[in-house]
Symmetry: D2
Amino acid sequence: MKTHILLIDCRDEAGIVYKVTGVLYKHECNIISNDEFVDKTTNHFFMRTEFSGDINKDEMLAGLRAALSSASISLVERKKKNIVIMATKEHHCVGDLILRHHYGELDADIRAVISNHAVLKDLAENFSIPFRFISHEGLERGEHEKKIIEEISNHSPDYIILAKYMRILSGDFVRHFPNRIINIHHSFLPAFIGANPYQQAHDRGVKVIGATAHFVTENLDEGPIIAQDVIPVNHRLEVKDMVQAGKDVEKKTLSGALKLALEDRIFVINNRTVIFN
Amino acid sequence: MKTHILLIDCRDEAGIVYKVTGVLYKHECNIISNDEFVDKTTNHFFMRTEFSGDINKDEMLAGLRAALSSASISLVERKKKNIVIMATKEHHCVGDLILRHHYGELDADIRAVISNHAVLKDLAENFSIPFRFISHEGLERGEHEKKIIEEISNHSPDYIILAKYMRILSGDFVRHFPNRIINIHHSFLPAFIGANPYQQAHDRGVKVIGATAHFVTENLDEGPIIAQDVIPVNHRLEVKDMVQAGKDVEKKTLSGALKLALEDRIFVINNRTVIFN
Amino acid sequence: MKTHILLIDCRDEAGIVYKVTGVLYKHECNIISNDEFVDKTTNHFFMRTEFSGDINKDEMLAGLRAALSSASISLVERKKKNIVIMATKEHHCVGDLILRHHYGELDADIRAVISNHAVLKDLAENFSIPFRFISHEGLERGEHEKKIIEEISNHSPDYIILAKYMRILSGDFVRHFPNRIINIHHSFLPAFIGANPYQQAHDRGVKVIGATAHFVTENLDEGPIIAQDVIPVNHRLEVKDMVQAGKDVEKKTLSGALKLALEDRIFVINNRTVIFN
Amino acid sequence: MKTHILLIDCRDEAGIVYKVTGVLYKHECNIISNDEFVDKTTNHFFMRTEFSGDINKDEMLAGLRAALSSASISLVERKKKNIVIMATKEHHCVGDLILRHHYGELDADIRAVISNHAVLKDLAENFSIPFRFISHEGLERGEHEKKIIEEISNHSPDYIILAKYMRILSGDFVRHFPNRIINIHHSFLPAFIGANPYQQAHDRGVKVIGATAHFVTENLDEGPIIAQDVIPVNHRLEVKDMVQAGKDVEKKTLSGALKLALEDRIFVINNRTVIFN
C-alpha cells in the first residue's frame, strides 16, 4: 500500500478537520500522522496528514475540493523526491549531501550538481552524480541563469538546493521556483551587515556562530526560515577558524532543513514557515 | 468564552479524528490547536485538542464516549492549575518557580511548599506562599509520608513538583498520585551509578552535565521523561562547580517540564511520554 | 593566606611570561591558575594569574613594573566585589541575581537596585537589598543620570549591571564607568533592526532566540561581547511566548557573564573580549 | 621558522612556569600560546606552550630536563600527524573524516582505513586512501588483532581512530597504543545499560541523544572523555530515526575530538582529560 501526504492550507473556519477526515474515512485510509495548526495572527489553518491506503487520488481530491472550496490542497505520494544542487567552490555542504545520498540516508535523488566552477566535479563524479559546469565567465547574469534554468528543467527537481552557491540570483530566476529553492548561509548573533561578516564577528568577539537555512525569495537572504542552529566559539579562534566553525554548522543545518522539505513538512505563510516535525 | 482541552488516548483505528471532530463541530467549537500522534510500536492513538466555545460539557463528553467506546477521554477547562512543591534544602528550583509564580508567568497557583527542613521557609513566605515544615525526624517513612499526603490533600493539587526533594518516596506514596508527581534530577552522559555522581563525572572528565525532568513511578528515577537539557563543562570545574552547573540546568529543565504539564501537553504510554508542543 | 589575581595586558614581546613568573617566584607565590593569550591580529599579550601567598603587594607591583615598563598591570585581591543593579520593570534578571546573591552563589554584594520605576521594590526588599527609585519623570536625561551617578557613587561598585534597564544611557554616563557596565539584551539570528524585533522575528519564523551580554560602550548595544546563548523556538510560539523565551535565555546569559566579570576573567581589546574560563 | 609544541606534566611546585619560560627565553622563542592548569585534587601541573623559533631541540630538551628533573616533557614539531582509521560497516564517521582530509581541513594524513568488512572500500578508494580489509572470519580475536597491529605498524600512526569499529578490543591491543586510540560511541542521558540502548532510550522517551569521544583504555568505553555533544529528539522519532540522529552527533563529536588530539591539546590524568582549547 502506498503512503500519501495531504497538505491543506486555507482560511480557518469551523469544521475543517471534520470535513477533511470525513473524506479520508470514506476512502478507508489509515492515518499515520496528522498535524494541524491555526495561526491566530492571520487566521490561517494548516494541516498535514500522512496516510496509507489504496486510494483513488482523483476522487479523493474531488471530495476534498468539494468540502473545502477555497483551500489550497496538495496530495502527493510519499516517495523519493528529485533535487538539484547548485554550488560554487566550497565542498562542505555538497559533500555532506552526496554522502548521505550515496548511503541511502537522503530521501531524494540528487539529479545533478550544477556549479559555476569546476572544482567540485570529482566529488560529484566519485559518487556517480552528474556534474554540470556552467561557467558565468563572459556571460550576462540573465544569460548565465538561462543556461542554469535549462539544465534544471532537464531534471524536474522538487527542490533546488543552494549548497553555497555564491552568486546572487535574479528575481526572474527565483520566480521560476517559488518556495522550492533552499539556501544556507552563516548567521550571527547579532547580524553583521556588509562585507566580511566573519571579520566583523571576530572583531566584536562573538561567542556563537550560526547558520540559517531558508527558502529563497526575491529578497534573497530574507526568505522564510526553515532551520537555524549555532556553534560556540571563543577569542582563540582566528577569522579562518570561525569560517571553519561556520561551515560545520551550515552543513548540519542545511541537511536538517532539506529533510523537512523532502518529507513535505513545511508550509509557507507570508514570510514565515509552519513546520510539522 | 471558555477554552477547553480535550485529551484522547486509545487504540488506533480508522476514523477517530473524524468522529471526534464531528462531535466538536456539532457543538460549534472553534478549534485553536489540534495535535495527533499514532505510535506505531503500540498502535496507540493520542489526540490533544484545544478549543474555545460555549459548550455543554456533559453532553459533549457523552457524545465523545458514544463515538469512541473504549477511549480514555479527558475534557478540562483551560485554567490555572494547583500545584504543591516538595523540597528539602536546595533553593534553586523552588526559587525559580516561586519567582515565575509571583510575576504571573506560571500558569498555576503554588498552594504550598512542603519541606522536611525549615531552611526554605523565608523564601516561600517572602512571596506569601504557605510553607509547611514536616520534619522526618523520629518518624518512620510511612508516618512521614502520611503527614505529607494529608497536607497535600488539603490543596487538591493537579501536580506535585519534587523541586529537589531528597528523600526516597515509597511505592505507596507514588501510587496516590499516578503521573502527577514531577521530579528533577541531574543526569550525566553517560550515567554514573552509585554514590557521588558529580565526583564520578568529574573524575572521568565529562564535558556536559545534564538534567532530566520526569514523572515519578515506583521505579523512582526511571519514570517517563518529560524534558532534558545539558550544559557544557570542562576540566577547570571542580566538583562543587559542576554541582552549581547542574543546578542551573535543573532549574531550566524543571520549569520547562512543568509548563508542558500545566498546558496538558503530556501523554504517558508505558514508560514514555508523547508531548505536543 | 590571601588569593590575588594579576592581570597583565601589553604589547607582545619575548620573555614576558618569564619576567612575570620570575617576580612571582621571588615572592614565593603559589600559582593556582595561569592563562595567557597572544592576539596575533593586534600583537597583544594577555595574562591572568591567580595565586595565593603572603605578598607585599606594593613591592610586587614595583617589581612587575620594573620588568614590564609599558604594560597595563592590575593586581587585586580575590574577594567579593560590589555591584549595583539598574533595572526598569522586568523582574527576570534582577530576581535571578537576587536569589543567587541571597543564597551565597554570587561572588558579589548587591549594594543596591536602582530603578526608574517602583515595581521591583518588593522583590529587592524581600531579600534586604536597598532599592532606590529614581524616577525619570519630569527630568532631562542629564539630570536623571546625574542622580543615578550620585547614588552609584555611594556604593563604589566594581560593576554596574543593566538587568533590563530600558533607558538609553548617554555617552557621558558610560564614560564614567569604562568597561564596568554590563548589559543584557535579546539577540536574533539574524538581527532585526528597528522597532519590535520580536514581532519581526516571529514574522520571519525564526527558529532560535538568543541573548547577548556585553560591556556598554558609547555605541550602546555594540560593545564587546562577554557571553551569548540561544534557545530554540518554533511557529507555535506567539510573539508573547517568544518574549518569554527571550527572558529565559537573557537570565541565564547575564548571570554567566557576571560570573566571568566577578572572577576577573575578562580583558577588553578594541571592541572584543579575551576571556579566560 | 618552525612551530613547536611543548607539553609538560608534573607534580606542582613553585616556579615551574618561571623555569620553563626561562629556557624558552634563552632559546629566543616566540611564544604563540601558553596554557597552564593546576589540578588541585591531584596537585598536578599541566602546561602546553606553542612557540616558533629556530631552536636546537636537543639542547632545549636538556635545559628543560635540568630545570624540571621529574617532569614528563614532550617537545614536538607542529606538523601533520599520521592517523589510521578503523571501521566496520557504518560510513558516517569515516566519510566525514575522509572528506575533511580530502579538502585539507584535517591536520593529518589518513594513512589507511582498516576494516573487518569490505563495504567501505569504495568510499576510501574514491579519495585515494588505502583500504585494508582484514576479515575476522575464522580467526581467534588474538590472531585478528595481530594482523591489524601489523598493518597499523606499517603506518606509524600518531592516533588510531575507531570510527565505529564494532569489535571489542583486547587489553593487549589497547596496551600497544596507550592514549592513542580514540573511540566514538552514542551516549544517553541517562545511560541505558545492556543490549539495544536505542530501543531502551526510545522506550523511556528520551529527549536528547548524545555522543562521547574518548581515549580507549582497557575498560573499553570507560576511558577519559575528550568531547561530548547532544542532539534533541522527541516521541515522533522511531528507533531507526534515533539511530540516525545518533550518527549525526557522533560524526560531529568525533571530528571535534580528533582536532584536539591533532593539535596536541589533550593531557590525560588518571581517567580524566585536561584540554587546552
